[in-house]
């Protein structure tokens, strides 16, 4: 059964989590302890019923795990009692997005430190509050913000300078468009603020945004890794 995603616990516990494709009506989430890697510490099999596309430990709070799947569910779990694998007790909240989830990203703002961006293979995007489990806004198909071009979402991120989420969209010719999301509802809340052109000649697949250091890195199908300085 192929693995599809994994994450390392960021607080030094030695835990690693993996997600997998669907197998025997179950898509397991397995916890591993790198100090005792002969078997998973715990396997959860009841949270998702389709391929798991992303698992991530919460970046600021230990004991919290977020998982997403093709089944459209975004699950938030606690694993304080990981050695007692009672899966039902671990599940804290489930957000139903009604579309397959490709990926999610933490996009905290001052107003909403638990803001999460979620997007689908159909290029739709929405936002949820991890704390409450509520859906806060649905951008719909974001390709319309690119003028209907064949763009692909690369990443969502937080933008501390503006205190708004941003997202990066790849065009087939290598350009990257940067959108600022001033509002998650309505048509006027998404603004094209920058376009990276002249660097890549094929579609960009990855963006690393480091606003605090004035740097952004991109990598793409043309085998290039490019660093961009952010002039402020």
């Amino acid at each position: 059964m192929p693995l599809t995603t994994g994450d390392v616990e960021p607080f030094g516990s030695g835990l690693v989590v993996t997600g997998a494709e669907k197998h025997n009506h179950s898509s397991p989430i397995c916890f591993w302890d790198v100090r005792q890697p002969s078997a998973p510490v715990v396997s959860w099999g009841d949270q998702h019923y389709e391929e798991i596309t992303q698992v991530r430990f919460h970046p600021r709070e230990s004991g919290r795990l977020i998982s997403a799947s093709v089944d459209g569910l975004l699950c938030q779990s606690q694993f304080n009692a990981i050695l007692t694998p009672v899966e039902e007790d671990s599940l804290q909240s489930v957000i139903q997005t009604a579309c397959p989830i490709d990926a999610f990203a933490f996009t905290p703002t001052a107003r909403n430190p638990e803001l999460l961006a979620i997007w689908s293979p159909m290029q739709t995007a929405l936002f949820a509050d991890l704390q409450s489990g509520d859906l806060l806004g649905n951008l719909g198909d974001v390709r319309r913000f690119s003028g209907g071009e064949a763009s692909q979402i690369i990443a969502f991120d937080a933008s501390p300078e503006t205190d708004c989420p941003i997202y990066f969209s790849a065009l087939p010719d290598g350009r990257v468009q940067v959108f600022l999301i001033r509002s998650m509802v309505g048509e006027g809340g998404v603004e094209l603020v920058s376009e990276l052109a002249g660097g890549h000649c094929e579609a960009v697949r990855s963006v690393l945004y480091l606003p605090g250091h004035g740097v952004l890195f991109t990598g793409g199908e043309d085998a290039k890794v490019i660093g961009w300085s952010i002039n402020q």
Binding site: L3, G6, S43, T162, G198, L216, G219, A223
Partner: protein, 120 residues
């Protein structure tokens, strides 16, 4: 909230690294921000200097698909491969995989074995 966004004026400061020949799927930065890891379509990891973008290590992780990876320190990383392998790599030790778990889920559970190997 600022009326303009800083990314409106971007410029490239580094161009193509000629040693990279595969599609770059994903990029990650070490916590001390000195190193970049790039995963490629051939299942490799390339360790790059975040300052010069020069490759300093090349790790053929898998012949399957490298689906996820994370720095665990500036010189070590964890990889997740579609063939079920979960591995830790130490770039200082001549690209040696320090822990390699081959997960073989069976009937909803996961059996595994640990192997240690070096890359020539």
């Amino acid at each position: 909230m600022p009326s303009t966004f800083a990314l409106a004026q971007l410029s490239s400061y580094s161009k193509q690294n000629p040693s990279l020949n595969d599609i770059i799927f994903s990029l990650k930065l070490s916590k001390d921000q000195s190193k970049l890891l790039a995963s490629t379509s051939s299942g490799e990891l390339r360790l790059l200097s975040a300052h010069t973008l020069q490759a300093t290590a090349r790790v053929p992780v898998t012949k399957a698909r490298l689906v996820d990876f994370h720095f665990t320190s500036p010189s070590t990383a964890c990889t997740v491969s579609s063939d079920g392998r979960l591995a830790w790599w130490d770039f200082r030790a001549r690209n040696r995989a320090i822990v390699n778990i081959q997960s073989k889920p069976k009937l909803g559970y996961t059996n595994s074995q640990i192997t240690f190997f070096s890359l020539s």
